[in-house]
């Protein structure tokens, strides 16, 4: 990893360069990371550090474990590319008049008058001007495309509108690339154009060129990430070693559902960018996928304290709050994002979640719909809307919503699971199995999915108990938190007359309940079975222990336990007096 100081200088100039070219989100990202680097407290006024530090006591607590190895230097033999000279030499090739043209164009660009900006730059030949012209044209085309998409939407869905500038842009940029006068920003635009056209391989190559020659453009990295859908493509990329690559890898691992790898990458990056909100949010995302909700909540609380007007990723926070049923926290969050920017899909999604938690499913559907209107490919909104429809018992609508989610991203195991649930609800367990199989295939370590599938096999219509047992076993093996699987396993084995196995699982379940200090009907059931089982197996001591424990409960079980105890005593007497 490059030193903090180099990172800082690199990012500082990158922010200027990027915002000078109108690449706003990349420059935003770079600036965020710039502020994320830990300041040397000696050099700065205390007010700065206070802003940065926030209240990091909680964070320290969680970070303590990971911090040990994350500061390690990269292994020997990895050579990082030298930082290219930052201040663009091209600035000198500008004379004043050209520069004026650029200034006018940039002002138009900032006012979102893209065509005008491109027109101003029509005869400019400097690289910077060429880039801005291409980029403005591209954005103009995109804007028109969005408008047309709404204007032309036919009865059967969208008509295939395309960005009309793409063809000319592609021609121009490919010519530039061929004669070698293309700069990395134009390469980025070229990559965008190619990606939209669907020639993914070329787009990937071009984007790799772009990030290799100018690594600080995060937008280029993100585009590249969206083109890496398998680990094989990721590994085949020929990327220079640069600290930006670590950000890229971490992000890509996450999208490829390699959460642990991604997490370790982020923790490594945190050594340098210890105050980066971005990294924190990404870590939260990874932990969320690993279902560490407590931790995620802590991270988000701190994030909000540092950055109270943040909306990005807050939908995930709302999911966590939903799962933990924190009514007031969720409503507070919803209120806050609503005031900040109500027309963000995330905001709508959070409000939808809130209504869903309150059980007002119709209202929550309205908000999810709004989120989808803002972004038609907003995956989690489709899935969540499906959940709402399931709650409303409108299964065909639920099926439709889930199916759209699945068609947007076929790896969304939640939507597959939802589809299975919907069909099971309609009394079609065999049909539902197809979907459950898909979902466990994508997320084989999630006990809930296995349990759902097992219950599907267990339904009276299918009654395929052997298969159900297999599924429950898988569930029990992968960290089944609510310990449903053990209980079911025991009961199923009991039903099938496998008393030994049943006893084994009841015992296991019992141990677990004891360890977690849980009580309840399951406990009674387990004790009852074990007492009877031990008695028939003539293990009287054990049986007596179980029976005495049963005596603590009221109800018919107590009486049964008493009679059992009596029976045991008689039999014991028999054994003592008349040994076999």
């Amino acid at each position: 990893m490059a030193s903090k100081e180099t990172c800082r200088t690199e990012l500082r100039s990158a922010v200027r360069l990027l915002s000078d070219r109108g690449l706003y989100s990349a420059s935003k990202w770079a600036a965020e990371q710039l502020m994320g680097i830990e300041q040397d407290p000696a050099k700065h006024t205390p007010s700065h550090t206070r802003f940065q530090r926030g209240s990091s006591s909680i964070r320290r607590r969680f970070r303590a474990a990971a911090a040990g190895d994350s500061s390690a230097t990269p292994s020997a033999g990895v050579s990082y590319v030298a930082t290219p000279s930052m201040a663009g030499a091209e600035d000198y090739e500008y004379d004043a008049i050209d520069n004026d043209f650029y200034l006018l164009a940039k002002s138009y660009f900032d006012c979102r008058e893209f065509r005008r900006a491109a027109h101003v730059l029509r005869d400019q030949t400097s690289k910077k001007a060429v880039f801005l012209r291409c980029y403005a044209l591209y954005l103009a085309g995109e804007k028109r495309k969005e408008e047309e998409m709404i204007e032309l939407e036919g009865p059967l869905g969208k008509s295939d509108t395309v960005n009309k500038e793409n063809v000319s842009l592609e021609r121009e940029l490919s010519a530039l690339r061929k004669n070698g006068t293309i700069d990395s920003f134009c390469l980025y635009v070229y990559g965008l154009v190619l990606k939209e056209k669907g020639s993914e391989n070329l787009a990937r190559t071009v984007l790799v060129e772009a990030v290799n020659s100018y690594p600080w453009n995060w937008s280029a990295w993100s585009e590249l990430q969206s083109l890496c859908t398998t680990i094989e493509t990721l590994n085949s990329l020929n990327l220079n070693n640069h600290w930006m690559k670590d950000f890229f890898l971490a992000n890509t691992y996450q999208e490829l559902r390699m959460h642990n790898e991604s997490l370790s990458k982020y923790e490594y990056l945190q050594a340098t960018f210890s105050f980066s909100n971005y990294i924190q949010a990404q870590i939260a995302k990874a932990q969320y996928n690993l279902r560490e909700f407590e931790l995620v909540q802590v991270i988000f609380e701190e994030l909000l304290r540092n950055d109270p007007y943040r909306i990005e990723d807050m939908d995930m926070y709302s999911n966590v709050l939903y799962a933990k049923e924190c009514f007031s926290a969720l409503s507070y969050l919803a209120h806050r994002v609503f005031l900040t920017d109500k027309y963000r899909p995330e905001s709508c999604c959070i409000i939808g979640n809130y209504y869903s938690l309150k059980g007002q499913h119709e209202k929550s559907v309205i908000y999810f719909r709004r989120a989808l209107k803002l972004n038609k490919n907003y995956l989690s909104a489709w899935t969540l809307m499906g959940h709402e429809y399931v709650e409303m018992k409108n299964s065909s609508a639920a099926v439709d919503a889930y199916r759209r989610a699945v068609d947007i991203n076929p790896c969304d195991y939640r939507a597959w699971y939802g589809l299975g649930q919907a069909y099971e609800m309609m009394g079609m367990p065999f049909y539902a199995l197809h979907y459950f199989k898909k979902s466990v295939f994508l997320q084989p370590n999630d006990s809930r999915l296995w349990i759902a599938m097992a219950q599907c096999y267990e339904t009276e219509q299918l009654h395929m108990l052997e298969e159900a047992i297999k599924c429950y076993k898988r569930a029990a093996n992968c960290n089944d938190r609510e310990a449903i699987a053990l209980h079911h396993l025991a009961k199923l084995h009991c039903k099938l007359g496998h008393t030994e196995e049943a006893a084994f699982y009841f015992k296991k379940d019992l141990d677990r309940m004891e360890a977690e200090e849980r009580e309840g009907p399951n406990m009674v059931e387990a004790l009852m079975f074990l007492a009877q089982h031990c008695k028939t197996k003539k293990r009287f001591e054990e049986a007596e222990v179980y029976c005495t424990r049963l005596l603590d409960y009221t109800g018919p079980e107590k009486e049964t336990a008493e009679s059992l105890l009596q029976g045991i005593r008689y039999e014991k007497l028999d054994v003592e007096h008349f040994p076999p």
Binding site: E148, E151, L152, E153, G154, P155, L156, G157, K158, S159, D160, T161, V162, K164, N166, V167, E170, R171, S174, K197, G198, S199, R369, L372, K373, K376, M385, Y389, N394, S395, S396, A397, A398, V399, D400, A401, Y402, R403, R404, D407, L419, Y423, M426, G427, M428, P429, F430, Y431, H434, Y435, Q461, L462, H463
Partner: protein
């Protein structure tokens, strides 16, 4: 349904529709005389009318034609006027330069519609009836224009611009543009399915040729065979269809060549979808085509069309169904499964499936039971009987829950189908274990009984729901069931005395007749729309045909005439599904007559099917009919003719693995090898036959039985009696286990034969008698006759004292044997008769030589046709002896020479030319 959808307004104005409107204006100008200005005659005028009507209804493709194509079609109907018409059209189109022009144009258009009060109209004046088809079209256009936003008008205008520009860019010589179109226009390439088919056929021909060349060398060794299979699988799609179809797709988006990219950018003229109705019509036509042609349907071409369709109409979920069908018929299990689920997830079973919509309204909950039904059929089709049954049972349950009687009826029929098609015994486990829809019957009763009850119940249900086609097909199913099952009382208690253990041919006849009544009243169930569309399509295509082949007009003139005649002579066609049902009733008839042993009737029925229904039925059925005909040829006319016919059939049907044609070929080759004494080859062929069957127990039972039957026959021919008997015994056990009684009769006969050949006549007789009683109860007349023959042979081999008995047996069976038996059976009968005479002590040859010689001569002639060396040598041997006794030395020498020839051929099979080399 749940998505962010707008209510479907389903009529969008496109440049093509504007062109039609312009032409309608020409067709019906306001206030003109009866034959308006540019037309020369009334018929000429009407021709344009029909053309316009067809344009609004045709469903030959998903996209509207470009201006070029339209102009080309106009040339066909325009005659002398064609230049005027097309000029007028392009002039009008290019005059539309501003939104206001469009407003004016549609204002004018309103003028050609007549008012609702028809009385005021003069006779001479042409007024478009607003409720006629074209009038409706115009009104819809007007409505669409009126509700259009200003943005919409702008888009329409710019679209018209590109529409014209495209045609003008390569306009001047029309001929040239047409020649070019096929090569550089991706749209056209997609649409021209004929071209695609043509290429496909050509390639498959080539592939057949290669295959034959291959076979000649390496039919016997398996390794090259496998390699060859590989070649078959991988080689020809990339060489033809894939490349052919995908090339334009790859090129047009990638290469920055100007013409292609221009197309890709603006909304190009050719990429406007036709109306929803037309697209649906196109899709259902394609669905029929897939089901008909099965695996020979060009998968890639169609897939790319579907892809484009899906891109331009993502909410048209029918596409997924078509995709499902396409992958199903190409045995792509994951693809089929995925698309089936996708289709039903989106459509909830309420879009487009062939069922009659329930008038009672089936709630907003969707009809997912149809999904189950389809899934069940899919598993059945792909050979997963267990899953299929599970799914279908779930379908029964769900449709009962939702009281969807129609679906229930269809599901029950599907279960019947499944039960009757798949072997039975291994099913009991599943059915016992899970919930079984026929609740009244305990699990103890056999599957046949369950099937029997199920059939009757579904028949009742279908009749009460008035689903005529379903009723008809259930009748067929019952006929099939009755064909091979003995009637037995369902409950095993009660007086058994009245039980009559026979099949009832009369019942079958009755069932077939009831199913036949369908033809008189199918109309109420069909959608006339699609046939309408199909007619318009074929009319438009006929327009094109003479154009494409102007050079060969002399040759093709007759053909296109007949096409037009065809078109006009059929005011309403019989829907495909009805034809299909009728056709399969003929197949069932043929099968029935074959089992009952009437060869001529079976042949006639197969022939009727092959001539009348092979166009409308699936290619698998047609292949079956051809196969049967080929078999008859082989049995009655010898191998030469059969192989010639086989060659024709192979050209007609793509010879995929497991196809019936391949099966017949193997059967014929095996029989011929047996007759000629090429035992090794026979064994090899028999093994190949066995390999074709699926390894799953209970599936492909017929094929398995046949393979082991032939195995036993081969062993018998090699005089390995013990092994042959062992094989036959195990076969008998299997047939017993799977309740295949008819096959059991055949096996019994084979066992009798084995005992006869091993010289153990006494133990053979019980088998023959058992076979006879089987035949009696199943009405298998021909088999009975041949069992009688075997019995006679057995008696005869017990000694000359039984010759009389044998003779009377043969004479009893002669009518059936000679009338319906094949060459082999007849000559065996003749030889046995002669032997009986010779063995009988009271018979003297010298008194009545013709009594013996006549049958022997007959037998020897027929056997020579059949190339059956063993029997032929026997016949000649007997003949020589008789001639010797009569003292006719010359004839004796001739017979002896023939005898020697056949014996040598039999003993040295390798000396003769390789049997496959003279096989086509």
């Amino acid at each position: 349904m749940a998505g962010l959808l707008k209510p479907p307004g389903n009529f969008a104005l496109t440049p093509h529709k504007v062109s039609i409107c312009i032409l309608v204006q020409v067709y019906a100008p306001p206030s003109e005389l009866s034959v308006p200005f540019p037309f020369s005659s009334v018929s000429h005028h009407n021709c344009l009318g029909i053309f316009l009507l067809s344009l609004t209804k045709a469903c030959d493709s998903i996209f509207e034609p470009s201006l070029d194509e339209l102009i080309a079609q106009l040339r066909e109907i325009g005659g002398l006027l064609n230049h005027w018409l097309s000029d007028h059209l392009t002039r009008r189109l290019s005059s539309l330069a501003s939104p206001d022009d469009l407003f004016n144009f549609f204002n004018d258009l309103r003028g050609i519609l007549g008012g609702s009060d028809a009385n005021v109209v003069d006779d001479d004046q042409i007024v478009l009836d607003p409720s006629s088809a074209i009038g409706m079209f115009v009104r819809r256009c007007l409505l669409a224009f009126n509700v259009m936003s200003f943005e919409g008008v702008c888009h329409l205008l710019s679209n018209i611009g590109t529409y014209c520009k495209e045609s003008l860019s390569d306009c001047p010589p029309f001929e040239l543009s047409h020649l070019d179109d096929s090569s550089n226009d991706p749209e056209l390439e997609y649409e021209s399915m004929e071209l695609e088919n043509f290429v496909f056929e050509k390639v498959s021909e080539e592939f057949e040729a290669r295959k034959l060349a291959n076979e000649r060398v390496s039919f016997h060794s398996h390794a090259p065979g496998a390699l060859f299979e590989l070649v078959e699988d991988t080689d020809f799609p990339p060489s033809s269809s894939v490349e052919h179809i995908d090339r334009p797709r790859e090129v047009s988006p990638c290469a920055p060549s100007t013409s292609d990219t221009l197309r890709g950018t603006g909304p190009p003229g050719g990429t406007f979808l036709r109306t929803n109705w037309q697209v649906q019509g196109y899709l259902s036509e394609q669905a029929d085509a897939i089901e008909k042609h099965g695996s020979s349907f060009p998968i890639y071409a169609f897939e790319s069309i579907l892809k484009r369709l899906q891109k331009s109409a993502p909410e048209l979920h029918r596409v997924h169904f078509l995709r499902y069908l396409n992958s199903l018929y190409h045995d792509d299990y994951p693809g089929a499964l995925e698309n089936l689920h996708r289709y039903f997830d989106y459509s909830a079973g309420t879009e487009g499936v062939e069922f009659v919509p329930d008038p009672s309204g089936c709630s907003g909950l969707g009809r997912y039971e149809i999904a189950l039904l389809n899934l069940g059929m899919m598993h059945f089709h792909l050979g997963h009987p267990k899953q299929s049954l599970e799914v279908l049972i779930e379908a029964v349950r769900v449709s009962q829950q939702h009281s969807d009687d129609t679906c229930l009826a269809y599901t029950l029929a599907a279960i019947c189908n499944l039960l009757s098609a798949i072997g039975f015994s291994n099913m009991t486990g599943i059915i016992g274990a899970s919930y079984w829809p026929v609740a009244g019957i305990g699990t103890s009763s056999s599957i046949q009984q369950q099937l029997f009850v199920l059939l009757r119940r579904s028949l009742k249900r279908a009749e009460s729901l008035k689903l005529k086609r379903l009723v008809a097909s259930i009748h067929l199913e019952i006929a099939k069931f009755d064909l091979t099952h003995v009637q037995r009382p369902l409950l095993s208690f009660g007086p058994k005395a009245s039980t009559k253990l026979r099949t009832c041919p009369a019942n079958i006849c009755k069932e077939l007749w009831t199913s036949y009544h369908l033809i008189s009243d199918f109309t109420d169930e069909t959608s006339i729309m699609t046939t309408d569309g199909a007619f318009c399509t074929s009319w438009l295509q006929n327009l094109k045909k003479p154009r494409g082949s102007l050079v060969f007009s002399q040759e093709n003139g007759i053909r296109s005439d007949s096409d037009i005649f065809h078109f006009s002579a059929q005011p309403s066609s019989i829907p495909g599904s009805v034809l299909h049902l009728l056709g399969s009733s003929y197949l069932v008839r043929a099968a029935a007559w074959e089992t009952y042993g009437s060869a001529p009737l079976a042949r006639i029925n197969a022939l009727v099917f092959a001539t009348c229904f092979s166009d409308s039925s699936s290619s698998a059925d047609a292949a079956l009919a051809y196969a049967k005909l080929i078999q008859y040829l082989a049995v009655f006319k010898g191998y030469k003719e059969a192989f010639a016919a086989l060659k024709i059939a192979e050209e007609k049907f793509l010879c995929v693995s497991k196809s019936i044609i391949l099966l017949v070929k193997l059967q014929l080759l095996h029989e011929r090898a047996l007759h000629r004494g090429h035992l090794k080859l026979a064994q090899q062929l028999c093994d190949e036959l066995g390999v074709l069957a699926s390894p799953v127990t209970g599936v492909d039972m017929e094929l398995k039985t046949e393979a082991s039957l032939r195995h036993a026959q081969t062993l018998l021919a090699a005089n390995q009696y013990d092994q042959a008997a062992a094989v036959a015994h195990s076969l008998f056990c299997m047939c017993y286990k799977f309740n295949m009684q008819v096959q059991n009769a055949t096996v019994l006969l084979l066992l009798a034969e084995i005992h006869k050949r091993s010289g153990n006549a006494v133990s053979g007789i019980p088998y023959a008698l058992a076979c006879l009683s089987f035949c009696q109860s199943f009405n298998l007349d021909l088999l009975k006759a041949s069992a009688t023959l075997t019995l006679a042979e057995l008696w005869l081999s017990l000694g000359p004292s039984h010759a009389k008995k044998a003779l009377s047996l043969i004479h009893g069976a002669f009518p059936v044997l000679l009338g319906h038996g094949g060459l082999e059976l007849r000559s065996r009968a003749f030889i046995t008769e002669a032997k009986c005479y010779l063995a009988e002590p009271s018979f003297s040859v010298s008194e009545d030589p013709e009594m013996v010689l006549e049958p022997l001569r007959q037998a020897s002639e027929e056997l020579q046709v059949l190339e059956h060396h063993e029997l032929a040598s026997e016949a000649f041997y007997l003949m020589a002896i008789v001639y010797d006794k009569l003292g006719q030395l010359n004839e004796r020498e001739d017979a002896a020479a023939s005898f020697k020839k056949h014996i040598i051929a039999l003993e040295n099979p390798e000396d003769k030319d390789d049997p496959l080399s003279n096989f086509p």
